[in-house]
Amino acid sequence: MTFEETEFQTLAELLIELVRRYRGNPVALEAILSEFKDIYKKVPIYPGIISMLLPKVIRPAETKELAEGEEVILTLKDGRTISGRVAEITPTEIKLAESHQLTLQPLSEKVSVEKDSVEEAKRIFRELLAKEWPSLNFEEE
């Protein structure tokens, strides 16, 4: 095996890891992907810089470190996840503006959707490498 001659592999593996880590957190994913898009547009020639910056988009913090104006994601002890912008901090509360509660609710039963109620439909395709370029679909080591 030889050296990786570009930083593409690092970037691809990083994106895979970030998507895995934030699978149930669309706000975090949106922030990471939107930063990715912005940084890539500016420095498409430096994937190493993109790889260095993306893990810094979402950072853990203590509640006492939060400041007004910051965009935050809070995971609560009851399991809920709330996102928003810190509007005010009191000794006992963090007040959020532009806030959302994130839920990823599994639906175990069959669900009926009226066709007329569908605004837009998208199909999801997976295992594209195997389907479109089978000669490169090597067994994983």
């Binding site: 030889t2 050296f3 001659e5 570009t6 930083e7 690092t10 498409p44 020639i45 430096y46 190493g48």
Partner: protein, 418 residues
């Protein structure tokens, strides 16, 4: 007005820091290893400092500008191994030496010191400067070859012999241009000097950095590899290299690391200075060739057949290039793609501020330019450049940076755009 003077005894060492100008009034001193005698004047610019050593009883007269300083040192700052290396070079006469080291370890100063000192032994040294971000020999985005014809205090004063356009401020994503250019400059250097010393970039960690260092060493196949390191930070790069080639050197204690902000400011200043006094050069697209671009490598098509926004169309083996004013609807693009293959859509005006290399028929870089406009209707490219003679330019090499003539970096170019 009487200027301050210093009377020096043989062996005394000073650090002189710019802004400063001095004249040797008597005796001999060495500055950055280069011998200077009575009557010679030396100017050190701001934020640069060099060692001065008295080679005999000597008197110097000096003027200090902003931040200028003259500081007596208790001992030499040049590590002993550096002089041992030079003695070995004088004895064995190698043809090529590679200098490796992390950023800010003083590769440039080692090169300057060696070039000056070898000149005292009658050996003419060429130096290849591969710091494309803030090249001492040639402007940023290029690698340069300088020849030590006379002593210099700082490497940028060395006589510039040739330059090679890499097109970016870093070898990242440009390693092919980088190694080609390095080889080209070394070969040119060996035709004009007894020895060529090559400064490799300070990119020593990670796959791409390791790969670059390894393949540069393989391609140049130097007689010696000088490893300039503070501790053991280069050992992983040195591991595959034949041990008999390697000379490990310690870093001069006076080397100061630059912050990323200082590096960026310096780059902007150097580019701004290079483009000072630039004028518009108009080149006929039928006469000049493009390099490192898809454009002008295929067959032009009738642009009007692709919609009124399209001002240029060209068929290439990979598909089609369209240059369009305004947006094109997806349906039209899909139809074009089904007939011609992949569509490379270039927004008209996207070429503005792209840095380019201007090359002559002998494949020599005659200067840099900044694209102002490609006028496809008239078949012209307008380039802002300090190069005066348009006739000598036969090739335009596309780079990956967007800069203004003031030196301000305003963006990068996605590979494959043009």
């Amino acid at each position: 007005m009487k200027l301050p003077q210093l009377s020096l005894k043989p062996g005394e060492v000073y650090r002189i820091e710019g802004q400063l100008s001095l004249e040797i009034k008597g005796g001999k001193v060495s500055i950055s290893g280069g011998m200077r005698e009575k009557g010679e004047r030396v100017v050190i610019p701001r934020a640069k400092s060099v060692p001065l050593e008295a080679e005999s009883e000597a008197v110097i007269e000096y003027t200090l500008g902003a931040d200028g300083k003259v500081e007596r040192l208790s001992e030499r700052t040049i590590p002993k191994e550096w002089d041992a290396l030079i003695a070995e070079v004088v004895k064995k006469r190698p043809k090529t030496i590679l200098v490796m080291g992390n950023v800010d370890v003083g590769k440039t100063f080692l090169t300057t010191y060696m070039g000056n000192t070898l000149l005292r032994h009658g050996i003419k040294m060429g130096a290849v400067d591969s710091d494309v971000g803030q090249a001492d020999i040639g402007p940023p985005t290029t690698m340069g070859l300088g020849i030590f014809e006379r002593p210099v205090a700082l490497l940028y004063e060395v006589a510039k012999h040739s330059a090679y356009f890499v097109g970016s401020m870093s070898p990242a994503g440009h390693t092919l241009e980088f190694v080609s250019g390095m080889k080209w400059l070394v070969e040119h250097g060996l035709k004009n000097a007894d020895l060529v010393i090559v400064n490799t970039p300070g990119w020593i960690y990670g796959g791409p950095g390791r790969s670059l260092q390894l393949h540069v060493e393989e391609l140049i196949d130097p007689d010696m590899v000088v490893a300039l390191q503070r501790g053991t930070e280069l050992e992983h790069i040195l591991a595959p290299i034949a041990p008999q080639k390697i000379r490990r050197m310690s870093v001069s204690p006076k080397v100061r690391a630059r912050t990323p902000g200082e590096r960026s400011n310096l780059r902007g200043m150097l580019l701004g200075k290079y483009f000072e006094g630039s004028e518009a050069m108009v080149l006929d697209l039928r006469r000049v060739r493009f390099e490192r671009a898809y454009l002008k490598t295929g067959h032009p098509l009738n642009a009007s057949e692709f919609g009124r926004q399209v001002i240029y169309a060209e068929k290439i083996p990979e598909g089609i290039i369209l240059v369009a004013k305004g947006r094109m609807d997806e349906e039209t693009l899909k139809n074009i793609s089904s007939k011609f293959g992949q569509v490379r859509l270039i927004r008209a005006g996207a070429e503005q501020n792209v840095i380019v290399g201007l090359v002559n028929d002998a494949n020599e870089l005659v200067g840099l330019g900044i694209i102002d406009k490609i006028n496809f209707e008239r078949g012209q490219i307008v380039i802002m450049t300090p190069v005066k003679n348009a006739e000598q330019v036969t090739v335009v090499q596309f780079g990956s940076m967007k800069v203004k003539p003031t030196g301000e970096e305003v963006g990068t170019v996605r590979p494959g755009t043009f």
